[in-house]
């Protein structure tokens, strides 16, 4: 089994290095094909490992080599395939295989084709390290690796100012959070003396609650950055500047769920500190509705999907915070399928309309893009949580968890969010695919994406449909080998049915409302004059609650001013002046003593004699001072020195 572990881990690395060989050359189709095949082999290896784990086999745990060993510190390159990491491995390899194949079509006309595959595979490799590592240090390497690849890929079109800006924003915000994560890891090592998961979590049972709370909080700060939770959420929407396959893979299915993975992986820690758990759940619920409201009005299809991702991450944290770790992980998996599908569909639409993102300029695309329409609609149905698609089983479960645990505020918020989710998802579906044709007038000639791109997307479609009812029970049985096996059942049968059907009706009503509102022929490209667009609520939402504005005005600008002051006053006047002074002094010395080197033997001999005399006098002075040291000390002490 170790063999398959190594294949799953290193095939993406090989793929990345292979593609890297061709980065300076023009587009080569086979680079994309070889990369896809290598990632696919990682997927196959993961599948074999999954069957091994499902078959009740031993947990595969290997130590590739020792990384650090000094004193008490021992960190190996250790990898583990257990029920949690195999879930993540399956999600990562499956979605990345599909995204790789899709990208062959999507990046078809891009000059950076080879480079793109190199970055994308490097991301998969980092992500595999992140999920497979058996210690916090390895996790952190992967954590930083995915951060780096995310930066590279968001800023892939680096000639665009907005793309580089978004890449830097994402990178810097993640660094802020990573500091918290690093402190958390230090605290773990400080208090338990090890970074291995099993050792550290076993030792945590003996620590006092206060220490554990700090560890939990700091680790969660790291998770907040990676999973874009409030208040570090602004980077995710801006990250949509990257190519769409990147958004599908990194900013929907895998990297942003790393935070959830961290919390689930640390479940033994969070089980000991339920207060922090409750905080996580509350924050999750808040982010869920917060992001959903911003998605209601946004006029950029990718950003709407990004906010929807944010909102769903909120759901996952709500479940994880309430102790329903397996539910969180299950929703993570289901969400990866339908959200990646939604993004890839969005990519098709963008391609058809030469990168147009405003859904108000589309309309009626269903006629030309039937395949994409079906896929995106079904993905949205799954996202909205309609029976029997994937979202129903995973998302309704989170609602049930909140209800059964008597967290009725969280429950209400999440229920409302479910309605909003349905509304904004079908708002863009209706605007893109139905209603009046608004794009022809703007000079667009849409065409459906390549056949193989649609075929590549189809496994996601199938999974988005069936993942719920086929996987739920087997998954529960598998993953609860490791995670707390809490089943959530509303005790009264009647209450259960009322809840489920009530939620379903609410969601369906939202969908119909969205269709009704946005399919009407009176929809026009908004020009900022309508009454709604001038209302306070609309302005608040379209400006993302003025949070980016707030950051810009109250964090970025003061920081810039402070930096300018430091630059002009401290750096130039003190640091530079000191360095320049030293350089100037040395230069002047050289300039003035240059004449000594006149080349004239006579002059040089004079200098030699002068030097000899100086040395001789020094020798005499020191000789005398040693000879009379006793007397000198007496005299000096007599003078009171």
């Amino acid at each position: 089994m170790e063999k398959y572990l190594y294949i799953a881990l290193f095939a993406p690395l090989v793929s990345s290095l292979f593609a890297a060989l061709f980065t300076a050359t023009p587009k080569k189709q086979f680079v994309g094909i070889v990369a896809s095949l290598l990632i696919f082999s990682a997927f196959v290896a993961s599948t074999i490992l999954l069957t091994h784990v499902l078959g009740g086999g031993e947990i595969v745990h290997v130590e590739l080599m020792t990384w650090m060993e000094t004193g008490n510190l021992y960190i190996p390159f250790g990898f583990v395939v257990d029920e949690i990491s195999i879930t993540m491995m399956m999600v990562v390899t499956l979605v990345s295989t599909i995204v790789h194949i899709y990208s062959i079509g999507y990046m078809d006309h891009d000059t950076g084709f080879n480079r793109f595959f190199s970055y994308l595979s490097a991301f998969v490799f980092s992500m595999m390290i992140l999920v497979m590592s058996d210690n916090f240090a390895g996790l952190f390497i992967g954590w930083e690796g995915v951060g780096l690849c995310s930066w590279l890929l968001i800023g892939f079109w680096y000639h665009k100012e907005s793309a580089t800006w978004a890449a830097n924003e994402a990178f810097i915000m993640n660094r802020v959070a990573d500091l918290g994560m690093l402190i958390g890891i230090f605290l773990v090592f400080w208090n338990t003396g090890t970074l291995q998961y099993d050792g550290a979590f076993a030792a945590m049972a003996n620590l006092d609650t206060e220490t554990l709370t700090w560890i939990g909080i700091f680790l969660f700060i790291g998770a907040m950055g990676k999973s874009a939770q409030f208040p570090l959420h602004t980077w995710l929407a801006d990250a949509m500047e990257g190519p769409t396959p990147v958004s599908a893979l990194i900013h929907a299915a895998t990297m942003v769920t790393a935070g959830v993975y961290l919390v689930v992986r640390s479940n033994e820690l969070y089980a000991l500190i339920p207060n922090v758990g409750l905080f996580i759940a509350s924050l999750g619920a808040f982010v869920a509705i917060f992001a959903a409201t911003m998605a209601l009005v946004n006029r950029d299809i990718k950003r709407v999907i990004a906010y929807s991702t944010l909102s769903q991450l909120g759901y996952m944290f709500a479940a994880a915070g309430l102790g329903a770790y397996w539910v969180a992980l299950f929703h993570l998996m289901a969400h990866a399928f339908f959200k990646a599908l939604l993004f890839l569909g969005g990519g098709n639409v963008m391609h058809a309309l030469s990168n147009e993102l405003d859904p108000f300029k589309m309309g009626g695309l269903g006629k030309t893009m039937k395949g994409t329409m079906i896929m995106m609609t079904l993905a949205s149905v799954a996202l909205a949580g309609i029976f029997p698609l994937a979202g129903f089983f995973s998302k309704d479960l989170i609602l049930e968890v909140a209800f059964v645990d008597h967290h009725f505020i969280i429950y209400t918020v999440l229920l409302l969010t479910a309605g909003l989710t349905a509304f904004y998802s079908f708002r863009i579906i209706a605007l893109i695919f139905h209603g009046e044709d608004r794009h022809t007038a703007l000079g667009f000639h849409p065409h459906e994406a390549y056949k193989f791109m649609l075929v590549a997307m189809s496994p996601l479609l199938i999974l988005a449909i069936i993942a719920g009812f086929t996987f739920k029970m087997p998954y529960f049985e598998m993953v609860t080998q490791l995670l707390p096996a809490t089943e959530y059942h509303v005790h009264s049968q009647v209450a259960y049915w009322i809840m489920t059907i009530g939620t379903q009706l609410f969601v369906i009503a939202s969908i119909f409302f969205a269709y009704k509102k946005y399919m009407s022929p009176s929809i026009k490209v908004p020009d900022g004059t309508s009454k709604m667009e001038n209302s306070f609520a609309y302005k608040l939402l379209i400006n993302q609650y003025y949070i980016p504005y707030f950051y810009e005005e109250y964090l970025v600008k003061p920081y810039r001013e402070l930096s300018t002051i430091l630059w002009e006053k401290v750096d130039q006047k003190i640091v530079d002046a000191t360095v320049d002074g030293i350089a100037g002094l040395i230069h002047a010395t050289g300039e003035n003593t240059r004449d000594m080197q006149s080349g004239n033997l006579s002059t040089m001999l004079k200098w030699m004699v002068a030097g000899t005399i100086v040395l001789l006098s020094l020798a005499v002075v020191f000789g005398l001072s040693v000879r009379y040291s006793g007397e000198i000390t007496t005299i000096l002490s007599g003078l009171g020195v």
Binding site: M596, Q597, S598, G599, N600, L601, S602, L605, K606, V609
Partner: protein, 102 residues
């Protein structure tokens, strides 16, 4: 009649050394520079011999012989170079030898 002792030799040696040093600094003629160098070396030899005699230890005199031998060979090489230089440039004035100017 004053007994001639060690101090007299050392004073002589110092005077000779100073003369040599001034010669080394002031002379512009390469040949005379060699003379001055010889005076320097022999000043030291006088001191060596005197001190050696004073302590009854032959090491100093032995050292003086070495100095003489080395001075002779140094001079041989130096004069050879001097003649060569004179053939090429027609002058042995130190102020004309400034090719090492920095």
């Amino acid at each position: 009649m004053m007994e001639i002792g060690l101090n007299h030799y050392l004073v002589l040696s110092t005077i000779l050394f100073t003369i040599g040093l001034v010669g080394v600094m002031r002379r512009k003629n390469l040949l005379l520079l060699f003379f001055a160098t010889e005076i320097l070396l022999n000043a030291v030899n006088v001191a060596f011999a005197a001190i050696s005699h004073y302590y009854g230890d032959l090491t100093g005199q032995m050292f003086a012989f070495f100095v003489i031998a080395i001075a002779a060979s140094e001079l041989a090489v130096g004069l050879g170079l001097l003649i060569l230089w004179h053939k090429r440039h027609g002058s042995i004035d130190l102020d004309t030898m400034t090719s090492m100017r920095g």
